[in-house]
């Protein structure tokens, strides 16, 4: 099965590769691994503490083209979204956008897990500071 055009686009010209300062309170880091293939993905978000809007998102993925494309797409989608909106992103949205074949669906699951882990990390870091974010975490 050949990769679709959109996958190749993201693979050859990935968006938002790199990393943010993981020690910063405004940055949430999610690192996830795929049990079936050994792919690992790190996704980071920088969140504005007053508006709860994602200002920046970066990723680094060691894995196949679909895993790289899924995380690249995820970071593109994340920018400008609120925490709630980001938590609402489903792996099926990624599958649809990239036309992933069934055998590559786990790559999109990995990207969704990475988003959740990154935002979870941000919320955990800030829960002591902001009582209000707990409600967000529960809703998600």
């Amino acid at each position: 099965m050949a990769y679709t055009k959109k996958v190749i686009e993201h693979f050859e010209n990935p968006k938002n590769i790199g990393s943010l300062d993981k020690n910063s309170l405004n940055v949430g880091t999610g690192l996830v691994g795929a049990p079936e293939c050994g792919d690992v993905m790190k996704l980071q978000v920088e969140i504005d503490e007053t508006t709860h809007i994602i200002k920046d998102a970066k990723f680094k993925t060691f894995g196949c083209g679909s895993a790289i494309a899924s995380s690249s797409l995820a970071t593109e989608w994340l920018k400008g979204k609120t925490i709630d909106q980001a938590m609402a992103i489903r792996n099926t949205d990624i599958v649809e956008e990239l036309s992933l074949p069934p055998i590559k669906i786990h790559c999109s699951v990995l990207a969704e897990d990475a988003i959740k882990a990154a935002i979870g990390d941000y919320l955990k870091k800030n829960e002591a500071k902001k009582a209000g974010t707990e409600a967000v975490a529960v809703k998600a």
Binding site: G38, K42, F62, D113, A117
Partner: protein, 245 residues
């Protein structure tokens, strides 16, 4: 010697006893009950037909540890009773042949599963509702391992000079983890067999998933190592003066 119907397990009586069951009317396979004969063998055949799982088919308890010699003997005993070759003569109708085929193929599946410790383990866990074959996302892998695997690959890209040594270290670490994981699996199996308990099975399921993650990492590390060694070799060759000649 009293023999029993291979289908309904009722005692075979009357002059024509060895060939047709008076209870259910079905013709009996020749030497149906095998060399040992008797009620025990006939019941064993019925047990295969009515078994809800492979353990029941073999009449053993649902445990990880099995006496495989005894299982093998039972497999051959049951095969002698159930095998379709026994039903090839015209005396048996198509129904008897169909049943024989069905039971024999179930018995074959059961045997090939129970004789392998790995397959038996997955099968038993599956029966108890702990499916180890379907990984569901990130929640089921050891996080620390995924993190160090990420860091390793990061380091390999950033510092190619020390890459090979790092990869070999990581590989060694993986092997140690595999060994301790395998030991933990055996220990959990033993505890389950002696005392039962779903908590143990749950933990076992997690260890098995760790094991399969370890295996996929081992495969990936091997690949990474080979790539690095090839690159190192090419570099070395290109440094030899006059190598181009």
């Amino acid at each position: 010697m009293q023999r029993h119907c291979a289908f309904c397990s009722q005692p075979l009586t009357g002059a024509s006893a060895p060939h047709v069951c008076v209870s259910c009317g079905k013709p009996q396979p020749v030497h149906a009950a095998g060399p040992e004969s008797g009620a025990e063998s006939a019941q064993a055949a019925v047990r295969v037909a009515e078994a809800e799982d492979y353990f029941q088919a073999f009449g053993v308890s649902r445990k990880f540890e099995q006496d495989r010699k005894a299982l093998e003997k039972r497999f051959y005993d049951l095969s002698r009773i159930l095998h379709p070759d026994r039903f090839s003569s015209a005396a048996f109708g198509p129904e008897a042949r169909r049943l024989s085929l069905e039971r024999m193929s179930y018995l074959n599946q059961a045997w090939s599963t129970l004789k392998s410790p790995q397959l038996l383990r997955d099968y038993l866990l599956g029966l108890e509702g702990f499916d180890t074959s379907k990984p569901q996302g990130n929640a089921q892998i050891p996080m620390e391992l995924a993190e160090s695997w990420f860091e390793l690959q990061d380091a390999v890209m950033e510092e190619p000079d020390t890459a090979l040594a790092r990869v070999q270290d990581f590989e060694l670490g993986l092997r140690k983890l595999s060994l301790s994981n395998a030991a933990a699996i055996l220990e959990l199996e033993k505890s389950h067999d002696s005392q039962g308990g779903r908590d143990l099975l749950k933990e076992l399921g997690e260890k098995i998933r760790s094991e399969s993650y370890l295996r996929s990492l081992e495969r990936d590390v091997e690949r990474l190592k080979n790539t690095l060694m090839k690159t190192a070799l090419m570099k070395k060759n290109s440094n030899i003066p006059g190598a181009k000649n």
